[in-house]
Symmetry: C2
Subunit: 525 residues, 2 copies
């Protein structure tokens, strides 16, 4: 297995010479029928007819995939090779949702698959006890609310998934514990959430792998302070708190929590939604079965990602087309546009997943790369975005590749017919219309009403946003980001770029010794 930079591949050179595709000209019904592939065994389907590729370019993308040995690298990762080269760690988030390859991964003297599974069993049991009312708060009352305290990967993914499943649970009549989230060190964040809580009935979930995250420990202390100040007789904060952390962290054996659930250094924060980091809060809120369905959907996507034929592997093809857009066509950003209010915070999670993984300027060996890597990722749900930033997407001077996500049905099943169509039909009609409007544009005598077209997009579709579909969607993007990291020859699993700011923040709090410039900025605030 060879690790080489993208610009050392023959396929990239070929792609650069390939005739460019005008989506405006190319779009036909035949193309729409042909340019689609299933994801996660059919839970989703990926449509790329409105992406600027043709048979020639797809052939070269296949050669690029083969030349960069993307499937072999994925298998190496699954098999337990040290793919996080900077931190010298394994990368096992796929294993946290199931064994993709048959051979167990042994590390630190244990079977890692069994370790993650064991934690799931503990989560199942614990969440069932809480949800059934067997396990209660310190004043004898059952829990009705769970509140996660975490930041970054311990917040964005779990929060996005929680919001995505509320409507599903309601539609299916599943009992819900209300979920709340505290993340920011801004004390107004905690204060606002705390204000809405009945402390006797709230279970806090403290999430920090290291057990030392400044924001999270600070917010824990704010919460404990608020519990104590509530004046509720006999309330004991430790009975209202569990931890999700690593076995070696100071939180692991803390007396201040009633239970600890574990993950490890082989699951990066932004990849941790499908281990205990997302599992505890989602299982408490919706029941363990819902979380297990999510894991099964993600696992199906992980299995599907083993396919070497790029036309049958949606995450692989999505990754390749993304790199083509970025490195051959030079597009600097990508918009994620889910036509589903349930996915309102999913773009924010993908923003972290993608930009923190592949926003790198050195390759996996620490050598600077001579090409652009991860794009800026942003997005909001449709149709809201249509009334906001779509103007620039349609008529701005830059082309922004778009990724649409859509569902045939809504989650809650409540809808009405107005002017001959349901709201869900209007939502889907808008999504289909946008793809065509972006791709095909429109000529007009008035240049102000002229649309150049050739605004490229892809589409991920499912019948309904179920837990399995959500898991498949999550894993689709994780695997896409992984394949792009392999293409760019990056280590997508560390985040050294966040360290300098942390170090300097400590120096500010220490009074900026010997650093007048830092002091001058600090004095402004």
């Amino acid at each position: 297995m060879e690790f080489k930079n993208l610009d050392q591949t023959k396929a990239l050179a070929a792609l650069q010479k390939d005739k460019k595709v005008s989506v405006r000209e190319a779009l036909t019904t035949q193309r729409i029928a042909k340019y689609q592939s299933p994801e996660a065994g059919g839970l989703l389907s990926y449509h790329y007819a409105a992406m600027p590729v043709d048979e020639q370019i797809l052939g070269d993308l296949q050669r690029l995939s083969d030349e960069q040995e993307l499937i072999a690298k994925y298998k190496a990762l699954l098999g337990g090779e040290v793919m996080n080269t900077g931190e010298k760690r394994l990368v096992l988030h796929q294993l946290s949702r199931g064994q993709v390859l048959p051979t167990p991964v042994i590390a630190d003297g244990e079977d890692k698959g069994k370790f993650y599974k064991g934690q799931l069993e503990r989560i199942k049991e614990f969440s069932e006890q809480v949800r059934s009312g067997k396990l209660v708060g310190s004043t004898g009352k059952s829990f009705t609310t769970v509140c996660q305290i975490g930041i970054g990967g311990s917040d964005l993914g779990p929060r996005a998934l929680y919001l995505a499943l509320q409507g599903y649970a309601q539609g299916k009549g599943i009992k819900q514990l209300e979920g709340k989230f505290i993340s920011n060190v801004d004390p107004d964040d905690a204060a606002q959430v705390i204000d809405t809580l009945d402390m006797e009935r709230t279970l806090f979930i403290l999430v920090s792998k290291s057990g030392t995250t400044l924001e999270t420990l600070t917010n824990r202390d704010l919460v404990i302070d608020a519990i104590k100040e509530s004046g509720i007789k006999g309330i004991d904060p430790a009975k209202h708190m569990v931890a999700v952390t690593s076995k070696t962290s100071p939180l692991a054996k803390s007396k201040d929590v009633r239970e600890s659930f574990f993950f490890d250094d082989y699951i990066g924060g932004r990849y941790s939604s499908s281990c205990a980091v997302g599992g505890v809060v989602l299982s408490l809120a919706f029941g363990y079965d819902v979380f297990q369905e999510l894991l099964d959907g993600a696992h199906q996507a992980d299995v599907a990602a083993l396919e070497p034929d790029i036309r049958k592997n949606a995450s692989l093809l999505d990754a390749l087309i993304g790199v083509y857009n970025r490195n051959v066509l030079g597009y600097p950003s990508t918009a994620i546009l889910p036509y589903s209010q349930a996915l309102s915070r999913f773009p924010a999670h993908l923003q972290q997943l993608d930009m923190e993984s592949n926003g790198k300027h050195v390759n996996r060996d620490g050598k600077p790369v001579a090409y652009v890597t991860g794009p800026v990722i942003f997005g909001e749900p449709g149709t809201n975005g249509q009334h906001s930033f779509y103007q620039l997407l349609h008529q701005g001077t830059d082309i922004i590749p778009l990724q649409f996500v859509g569902f045939k049905q809504n989650q809650r099943g409540k809808d009405i017919v107005i002017q001959g169509s349901t709201s869900q039909q209007k939502l889907c009609a808008n999504l289909a219309a946008q793809i065509v409007a972006f791709a095909r544009g429109k000529d007009d005598e008035n240049p102000n009403k002229q649309f150049a077209g050739n605004r490229v997009s892809s589409l991920l579709v499912a019948k309904e946003l179920t837990p399995a579909v959500l898991g498949a969607l999550l894993a689709h993007y994780e695997n896409k980001v992984m394949f792009q990291g392999f293409l760019w020859n990056l280590n997508s699993f560390d985040q050294e770029g966040v360290q300098l700011g942390k170090t300097l923040a400590k120096q500010v709090l220490a009074g900026c010794p010997g650093d007048p410039v830092l002091k001058a900025f600090s004095d402004l605030l």
Copy 2:
């Protein structure tokens, strides 16, 4: 007054030849002290020491400002010239918060300043009646919740401002009516909000200038349906609904609303937060006085924007530096990073404001421009973003100019000391640290821990996020976007780019007659 394209200016040519500034090298305490200017009479201060400018470049930016006659164009706009050339409309959002120039603007046979003021007086009276419990719902109960139904400019700005003021109102002990918002045509959006409402105590605010916005009318009907289905005896939907619309819209005299408040074609949706569109919901939620303070702050920024010396005019200078970053240095996007949880949705509002205003490829006369215009805008609050996409900002291959926003104090006044500092101090320390980390970078033998620096940023600071400061912040960005539109010679006040998608969506709902490609996409969903 001459309207010419940016690339016809002498100053742009000079700027392109100017020696580029390395912020990494240039940053000194003297520079930090010098490169700052007040905004809105000192409500805010703007700091640009970490932006890539020097005396030479600032001189050329001043010449660019003079050459493009930015202040004269602003005055023309204030005076009632038809600056929305495409739609042949005046642009009067500044007037909605106060008379900046002494001469009244007369249009459609009325004094427009008086018209807006008259609406404010109606809002004041109505909101006081609701808040005092004089005006009640159809079953005799006072209102405790207001729910805005609107999309785009009728949603993002008002929602962002509502969230920004909750903590302020709480800190000051101001009585609050709870605010809710329904926007998306996805029926799950309305269903989720409706589920949380006590219909007897909820007043809905229907916001659509044309009175024909598909999403908004659909959601209104979903709400009316839910009220009727609530089974509450004697409840009358019309007594639970007011409209904010134009005088000529079908909603204006509808029997289905108990009151209508007006704005007009001279205030674009994304500029409408400071007229009735934001005014009704904010006055109901927090009291009219809070909204008036916001207007006063915005008005002060509008007055400050008249200053021709760019070093004394923060919105003007911010606009000029932004165009320098975009057109001379070639940076394609800008991140907005407020270190305040209260501003969690402010970047989403600015995303609309900026991208819908200046995401254009033709100039104000409808001629294609040969340079890039509006950048992609994105952002999340700090410190959350630090644990998410900052990796790419620090170590990615593209430079993304950053706009930080910070406050010395938090809103609610609840905070605790942990490890020697309050949460607010930690928040501010992180902000100061990030500016320096981005600008100065850090050398390291390990290339993976190497930070190149020269990641440029500016900072807007205030003592606390009060209504006046929020108004000044809002107007700062509106005026920045306006000045950039003048620099690029665009019409920043129309949005023709959103029309094509609307038209095609109607065709999808009609079965895609004669359009097999549209039908093929429609069939996927």
